[in-house]
């Protein structure tokens, strides 16, 4: 979420994390761990 840009809906975790990884260059393992750590 940010002030500018286009809101996109992802239907599952893999779709989301693959997208973020492609956009930011962060590897998926790190993103997956972050996701696990933060989600309730």
């Amino acid at each position: 979420m940010s002030a500018k840009g286009q809101l996109r809906r992802f239907e599952n975790r893999a779709q989301l994390l693959r997208h973020i990884s492609e956009e930011t260059g962060t590897d998926i393992d790190t993103l997956w761990d972050e996701y696990e750590a933060q989600v309730e």
């Binding site: 979420m1 940010s2 002030a3 500018k4 840009g5 286009q6 809101l7 996109r8 809906r9 992802f10 239907e11 599952n12 975790r13 893999a14 779709q15 989301l16 994390l17 693959r18 997208h19 973020i20 956009e23 930011t24 962060t26 998926i28 393992d29 993103l31 997956w32 972050e34 996701y35 933060q38 989600v39 309730e40």
Partner: protein, 457 residues
């Protein structure tokens, strides 16, 4: 009146394939910027077009701000009225805030300004959060009703099958079913008419108010374009009769046999199914089975990549056994989508000749099972992403596969003329995104005159 014959009920809505995304609780995560999670789905703002360098300065809204806005605004009436006037998607080439500030009625934008002054939230944040809420309620609200509807349908069907006569238990169950069917039809009608008006640039000051003030029959008439909507109105009439007249309710308005109740049950389900299709909520399985080759290739390849990503984290050992198998080329696995069981219809990515490892076969079947679910998720995501609405997206992918107007009309519960008209609409509205998915948008080549014997409706 006793009747012990077996009842063979057949429903139009397939509870197994309909995808349900009921409204969920929000969670806001920080994954290289804020991400809002709702159930299995998630929302994130991505840079528009190719301008990826934007991402440095667009992450200015913090996770905490979004969390606070979502929890504080949930019961705010002014915020809700902004949500109600938000469209359900925006064109891909536009920045959302640019689009929303042009799209929303002046009154909503004024409310947004006032709300920003009375809360710690910037106007842009309020609009973004309203848009997330609109998307969530779009996908989720009628799905909640649909979930209850399917449960109640299963209950009344079971009661009808297991009893010989119409007793008070069947009456109660049927009445509950009818209430839910009527609620579902009304919910889907309102949502679809709203979407149509938003997308057709209806020159109305407050679209939501206008649609809510219409009667149900008027909404249906608008939706069905003056076509035959009598059976849909009939559901509401039947529901009203039973609600307002206790005597009729007790006797189910003169439905005397199990067969008669079953017929009304099937007919009502067909009505709900038509609206479900018009709203585009159950298009995934039609596209999966009948979509054009380039689209199926795209969606399956993305689904396989999504599944590999998930298995790398959740089942690394099993995945590595598949990777180690000489007969498998996992990334290339594809399956025949016209068959119901993808596991038995792998067409690429695995060589079965001389393969007799039962354990590995089980793992492969699990992998393909997961990939086929991810395949439906990908279709769902593409339909949401498209500049076309979900129904038109389905029409486009089916037209690109070369199916006849008649077949497409049958699969999508509509008529041939409507499909032809939509072909024209798609030619105007398809964006680069859709063109990239199907390679070439449908191209009508011949004029379509009505035959002498056919009346033009």
């Amino acid at each position: 009146m006793g009747d012990s014959t077996d009842l063979d009920l057949s429903f139009a809505i397939d509870a197994e394939t309909v995808s349900l995304s009921p409204i969920g609780e929000y969670q806001v995560l920080d994954l290289e910027g804020p991400v809002v999670i709702v159930g299995d789905a998630s929302y994130r703002v991505v840079p528009v077009g190719e301008e990826s360098d934007l991402s440095e300065d667009v992450r200015e809204l913090s996770v905490d701000e979004i969390r606070a806005a979502l929890s504080e605004l949930a019961d705010n009436d002014d915020f809700q009225s902004i949500v109600d006037n938000c469209p359900t998607n925006t064109p891909l080439v536009y920045d959302d805030i640019d689009y929303l500030t042009r799209h929303l009625p002046t009154a909503s934008l004024q409310k947004c300004g006032e709300l920003s002054e009375s809360t710690p939230f910037e106007k842009e944040l309020l609009l973004q959060v309203a848009y997330v809420e609109r998307q969530n309620s779009l996908v989720g609200h009628s799905d909640n009703v649909l979930e209850y509807y399917l449960e109640q349908r299963a209950e009344i069907a079971e009661k009808l099958r297991s009893t010989d006569e119409i007793d008070s238990d069947v009456e109660r169950s049927f009445f509950s079913y009818l209430l839910l069917a009527s609620a579902l039809i009304e919910e889907l009608t309102t949502e679809t008419v709203l979407n149509e008006l938003f997308r057709e640039e209806g020159r109305l000051d407050s679209i939501t108010e206008h649609v809510r003030s219409m009667g149900h029959a008027k909404r249906l008439e608008k939706l069905c374009g003056g076509g035959d909507h009598g059976s849909l109105v009939e559901v509401k009439k039947r529901r009203n009769n039973l609600v307002h007249d206790a005597q009729k309710r007790a006797g189910l308005d003169e439905l005397e046999s199990r067969r008669e109740v079953a017929q009304i049950l099937e007919k009502t389900d067909r009505c709900a199914s038509v609206l479900l299709t018009i709203s585009g909520k159950n298009i995934e399985s039609v596209i999966a089975k009948r979509g054009c080759d380039p689209y199926i290739e795209h969606a399956q390849s993305e689904a396989v990549a999504d599944t590999i990503t998930t298995w790398e984290q959740e089942y690394p050992e099993r995945l590595s056994r598949l990777h180690d198998c000489e007969q498998a080329a996992l990334e290339k696995i594809r399956w025949d989508t016209e068959e119901s069981d993808p596991g038995n219809n792998i067409t690429e990515g695995f060589t079965f000749e001389g393969f007799d490892n039962e354990v590995l076969y089980e793992i492969l079947m699990e992998f393909v099972g997961d990939a086929s679910k991810a395949f439906l998720d990908r279709i769902d995501a593409d339909a949401n992403e498209s500049n076309l609405d979900r129904f038109d997206f389905a029409v486009m992918v089916l037209l690109c596969a070369g199916h006849s107007y008649g077949d497409i009309a049958r699969w999508l519960d509509t008529d041939e003329k409507y499909v032809q008209r939509k072909e024209n609409v798609i030619a105007w509205r398809a964006s680069e995104f859709e063109k990239g998915l199907v390679e070439e948008i449908p191209r009508p080549e011949d004029p379509t005159w009505p035959s002498d014997t056919e009346s033009d409706d």
